[in-house]
């Protein structure tokens, strides 16, 4: 094949860079993050301080959890576009039910639609073999419809943000955002699940070669159904965290996070075709996107320009990873 495969020492600089990127995707990502922060510091000297870092972390965490949903679904070759709707539903139901209900009951009610949507997604993708993109788009449309109907039944009772969500979303403990209390266990759990458990291995196996996984006895539909339910649950929890951060329940609360969550997972090195990637890269991807958003806001780039940029990032990074995989 290529010379780089047989004689690594003779490989060109570009070839070595590619191999390096493929073997240690985290290092270039961290370098990119540092460069972005440095640009920010040059444009607005003094902006990078403790408060800014805490603030960046606060906004990066909901994005990172949603990107976790994308990472896990992408590992199987899927995608979950319903996370925005699920997060919005959970947040909205929580904020409106807390008015008359016990917090525990409100929490269960808020998680119910998340589980249901996850289940429908999982059955649609796993059993009926609908493309995940189309399936999750469809359930998010149905979910939005339900939310609109639901909204009219609670207009009279009003909405309130529970104190503990406020504390979780915006509070600081010794300069660290309280959201870390939620995020660190979630992140550890995701990384542990992906790297050290049988379920995690199944996700990689299914994404890498579905046929081989099936022939070795993997029950495809069970794996996929469990995966989409977990993804939806995570999205629901993110919604609760996000409402504590944004503090204004609306019917499109978490929609703006969907596109960046896909972009964060793709930047983090997770292949959209399945079988490659991990959650650590995604976390750094979410941080990069949050810093990038701050940078674009300082440069007065409108929302439209931001979307265009994110779209190009997804396309460019995917094409680049495809080249790396082809070279191996």
């Amino acid at each position: 094949m290529t010379t780089s495969a047989t004689m690594p020492q003779a490989a060109s600089f570009g070839g070595r860079l590619k191999r390096f990127m493929a073997d240690r995707p985290l290092i270039p990502l961290v370098i990119l993050l540092v460069i972005l922060v440095m640009i920010l510091q040059i444009l607005r000297p003094g902006i990078v301080n403790e408060r800014w870092i805490a603030n960046t972390a606060k906004f990066a965490i909901p994005l990172a959890i949603l990107a976790g949903c994308q990472t896990m679904t992408m590992l199987t070759g899927g995608i979950d576009l319903s996370v925005g709707t699920v997060a919005t539903m959970s947040a909205f139901i929580m904020a409106t039910q807390i008015v008359n209900q016990d917090p525990a009951v409100a929490f269960v009610l808020a998680m119910l639609p998340a589980v249901l949507i996850g289940l429908v997604n999982g059955v649609g993708v796993g059993v009926f073999r609908v493309h995940p993109l189309i399936m999750t788009l469809g359930t998010s449309l149905i979910g939005t419809g339900f939310l609109q109907v639901y909204q009219r039944t609670v207009i009279a009772s009003g909405a309130r943000i529970p104190d503990f969500l406020n504390w979780l979303g915006t509070g600081l403990t010794y300069g660290f955002p309280n959201a870390l209390f939620l995020f660190v266990p979630v992140a550890v759990l995701i990384v542990f699940t992906l790297n050290r458990t049988g379920f995690g291995r199944l996700l990689y196996a299914v994404g890498d070669n579905e046929r081989a996984a099936r022939l070795s006895g993997v029950r495809y539909w069970q794996v996929i159904t469990a995966l989409y339910v977990i993804s939806s649950l995570l999205a629901g929890i993110t919604g609760l965290l996000y409402i504590g951060l944004i503090k204004a329940p609306s019917l499109s609360l978490a929609e703006p996070l969907v596109l960046p969550s896909v972009a964060a997972a793709v930047i983090g090195g997770t292949s959209i075709f399945g079988g490659r990637g991990g959650y650590m890269g995604t976390i750094i991807g979410a941080l990069i996107l949050t810093v990038l958003t701050t940078l674009l806001t300082i440069l007065h780039m409108p929302e439209g320009g931001r979307r265009i940029l994110f779209g190009f990032i997804v396309l460019f990074v995917t094409a680049a990873y495809l080249r790396i995989i082809e070279d191996r």
């Binding site: 429908v120 649609g124 009926f128 073999r129 609908v130 493309h131 993109l133 189309i134 399936m135 788009l137 469809g138 359930t139 449309l141 149905i142 939005t144 419809g145 339900f146 609109q148 109907v149 009219r152 579905e210 046929r211 099936r214 596109l259 896909v262 959209i272 075709f273 409108p302 929302e303 439209g304 320009g305 931001r306 979307r307 265009i308 940029l309 994110f310 779209g311 190009f312 997804v314 396309l315 995917t318 094409a319 495809l322």
Partner: protein, 328 residues
């Protein structure tokens, strides 16, 4: 020959379903007349073009997720160009917007061919880009449409030699739809290029080995899809009088109608007539639900559920149609 019969059988069945739905509509609302039919066709117009756009790429063995975003971009471009401009200026706007759709669609195809990234990822990325561009053109619904353009979809078409009551059932919007779609589609289907589109959809390798220029044909299919999407965007601007930067649910609707219209999602099969009848069926169901005085938000849920069910059914048929043990 049997395939021909089966395809025509599917279309005939759909037509019967449509007629059945019209009868049901008459039973629900005995006064349902030509005027209501006219407004049905006007509502169908953007959906029909979206479906046409999707059909072409699906036949070519791909999928275009950017259809709705393309419609939004062309719609706001047309609306903002015609805003405050003279009536004659619209003669320039229409070809400009159509050319824009054609070029952007071709760009979609070019990106797929050049980057070798799967179509679903590329068009997802262009969905983001086009949506962002639409927001840059107009950040809120606005703009205007020329009066003579609006007149092309309102009212009925007088046909010489036919009694007035027949004319009443021929809305201008229907004439516009038929002319725009079939003037492009019918000659194409008979041509070498049309055959190539079917060929790369049913077996790309076989098509390549028989000398079909696969890359060029694919780019052309996406360009045609862009042209149809631009027609859809224009029809949106014309029928509402403004342009809206946030796309409607046209993507899911287009995929559902393609499946319902008997076009296999794998490619290479089906025609344009089936999906167009399917759009009428889906819209008429919505009309019936509205006539039954069901809450419009509930209607959205039912409609979404029907579309998801149709897509699931289509996917199910596709796996059933494959030889046992084969994976997609």
């Amino acid at each position: 020959m049997t395939r021909f019969l089966r395809n025509q059988g599917w279309v005939a069945g759909l037509l019967a379903l449509l007629i059945f739905l019209f009868v049901v509509t008459r039973l629900i609302q005995p006064g349902y007349g030509s005027g209501d039919f006219g407004s049905l066709v006007r509502a169908v117009l953007p959906y029909a073009f979206a479906v046409a756009a999707q059909t072409v790429v699906v036949i070519a063995g791909g999928i275009d997720l950017s259809v709705a975003a393309m419609m939004a971009l062309t719609s706001v471009t047309a609306a903002s160009m015609m805003n405050g401009a003279s009536e004659e200026y619209a003669f320039f706007v229409v070809p400009f917007v159509l050319a824009m759709g054609l070029v952007l669609g071709a760009l979609n195809g070019l990106l797929i061919v050049v980057t070798r990234v799967p179509d679903i990822v590329v068009t997802l990325a262009t969905l983001f880009v086009l949506q962002g561009a639409a927001l840059l053109v107009l950040d809120a619904p606005g703009g205007a449409a020329a009066e003579w353009l609006k007149a092309t979809v309102v009212g009925t078409m007088p046909i010489p030699g036919l009694p007035d009551w027949t004319d009443a059932w021929v809305p201008k919007a229907l004439v516009l739809l038929v002319v725009c779609l079939f003037v492009v589609w019918l000659p194409l289907r008979r041509s070498r290029l049309g055959l190539s589109i079917y060929a790369i959809g049913s077996n790309e390798l076989a098509a390549f080995r028989s000398g079909v220029p696969v890359a060029r044909t694919r780019i052309f299919a996406y360009a045609l899809s862009g042209l149809f999407a631009a027609l859809g965007g224009l029809s949106l601007t014309i029928s509402t009088g403004i342009g809206a930067p946030i796309p409607g649910p046209y993507l899911l609707a287009s995929v559902a109608a393609v499946v319902l219209g008997g076009v296999a999602l794998g490619g290479g099969k089906g025609g344009l007539l089936g999906p167009i009848i399917a759009v009428f069926v889906l819209r008429l169901v919505r009309t019936d639900l509205t006539l039954l005085a069901i809450d419009p938000n509930v209607t959205t849920i039912i409609e979404g559920a029907i579309m998801v069910a149709v897509v699931m059914f289509g996917a199910f048929i596709t796996i059933r149609g494959r030889p046992a043990g084969a994976t997609p």
